[in-house]
Amino acid sequence: MGLLNWLESSSLGVWVHESPSVWAQPTILTLHTMGMAVLVGACWVLDLRLLGISRNIPLSAFRWVFRAVAIALVVNLVTGLLLFTARASTWGTALPFLVKMVLVVASAATVLPIRQYVLRGVDGQEAGGNARLLAIASIFAWSGAITAGRLLAYLVP
């Protein structure tokens, strides 16, 4: 609790929370949303391919997805941390926020085995059952993370 309070009352936390500047919370939140669009959008396109949509595309063509995911993940980690500092004492103990964190970690965790599968895969070889399960898990986990994040604004005002 002490740490959370310290974070929130740090000059950075106060700036994000209270600065009237458009570069404070508005821009950070917008970057967080754009990072989300790239991150989840790129993951979902690959998930669709693993589930058999446009199966003519060789899996190896999707290498760009992992670069996009890596960049977007960094952007959202940084912007997410900044947004968290502004509300640390409230969010740090709020169930919807903790649920969101669990779902984000779970979603990101599906990227690693999917990446291994894609990089190792032989072209023309169709995605097996495990890859499909991973794709479904990825779709649902990201959906859950977005839902929890979006509802955070209403459940923990």
């Binding site: 458009v22 508005p26 754009m34 790129a42 669709l48 949509i53 446009s54 595309i57 063509a61 959906s143």
Partner: protein, 319 residues
């Protein structure tokens, strides 16, 4: 520099734009009917393409109409009931033309993939187009009566309880329900990710990433982009009909709709994208400079839509 909300008179813009849906629908219908008579595929495509653009442009027509209402409700000689009736019929017309545009888009998408649309799809589009034209013509007529008493068909009817109007009912649900707005926001964000992901992949391909992939294979993803687009059109309209005032006074909202039109036109271009459709399906197809410029414009437009949308509560006052 004056703000866009001051520089643009939306009520006036409504008078300019409001002819587009009816006149455009007549043009699209004429092209489709002529295509049936002449059994011409290119004419059919032209009709469907015009229909898609009309469906797109009907969005600002409806929205500027809501702005005109806000201006006119202050004028004592104008009947509030007459405007509300016009608005409700316009909302029905909007819904019908969006549906026609969607079915027509599916026909276009299929034509690109298999040479022709599934049987019955284009006739179904035509029927939907006729229905929406009829509703929109009625809306246009009712709209004209608001300010042109010389064409009034009869004495103004009795005032109707506002809660009986569809737009008002939707608004009261959106505002009073505790969970509908947050649920719609959630769907709006999920739809955004789906649309953005699909368009990111296709535009990256045009820009030269994953060149070994045939464009026709990526074309297969477009319906998923359309799914996200459709979910966001529905939820977005729920927000707008729910609280029109907060958007009509918001500069980022103006920009959002402008960039949405650009992004939508690009979506049509990607659907019918001509040069990539060679015999080999476009494997190793290298897009020319114009197409690459188009891809950059598209990605920029989507980022701008995201930016303006997320900035609504900060640069404007809407939530």
């Amino acid at each position: 520099m004056p703000s866009i909300t001051e520089a643009v008179n939306l009520a006036h813009l409504h008078l300019l734009l409001n002819h587009i849906p009816t006149v455009g629908a007549v043009v699209a219908l004429g092209l489709l009917l002529l295509a049936f008579v002449r059994r011409s595929e290119p004419l059919k495509h032209a009709g469907l393409e015009v229909l898609f653009l009309i469906a797109l442009l009907t969005l600002p027509v409806y929205m500027t109409g809501a702005a005109a209402y806000q201006t006119l409700r202050k004028v004592p000689t104008v009947s509030d009931t007459a405007i509300r009736i016009h608005q409700d019929v316009a909302l029905y017309g909007f819904t019908a033309i969006e549906l026609a545009g969607f079915v027509g888009w599916v026909a276009l998408w299929q034509s690109r993939r298999r040479g022709r649309a599934a049987p019955g799809l284009v006739p179904a589009t035509t029927v939907l187009l006729i229905v929406s034209l009829a509703i929109m013509a009625r809306a246009a007529n009712l709209g004209g009566e608001i300010r042109h008493p010389e064409i009034l068909s009869g004495a103004a009817g009795p005032a109707i309880d506002p809660s009986e109007f569809v737009a008002t009912s939707i608004s009261s649900v959106m505002v009073n329900s505790q969970w509908v707005w947050p649920a719609a926001e959630t769907v709006h964000f999920l739809g955004l990710c789906l649309s953005f992901g699909v368009l990111l992949a296709i535009n990256l391909r045009i820009l030269g990433v994953m060149k070994q992939v045939a464009f026709s294979d990526l074309h297969r993803l477009l319906p998923w982009g359309m799914l996200g687009f459709g979910a966001n059109l529905i939820t977005g309209m729920l927000f707008f009909v729910g609280q029109p005032g907060q958007y009509l006074s918001s500069a980022p909202f103006y920009w959002k709709v402008i960039f949405l039109m650009i992004a939508g036109a690009n979506f049509l271009y990607l659907t019918v994208f001509g040069k990539a459709w060679k015999a080999d399906g476009g494997v190793k197809f290298d897009a020319n400079l114009a197409d690459k410029a188009m891809a950059v414009t598209s990605l920029f437009a989507w980022v701008a839509v995201l930016y303006a949308g997320r900035m609504l509560p900060f640069l404007g006052k809407s939530f």
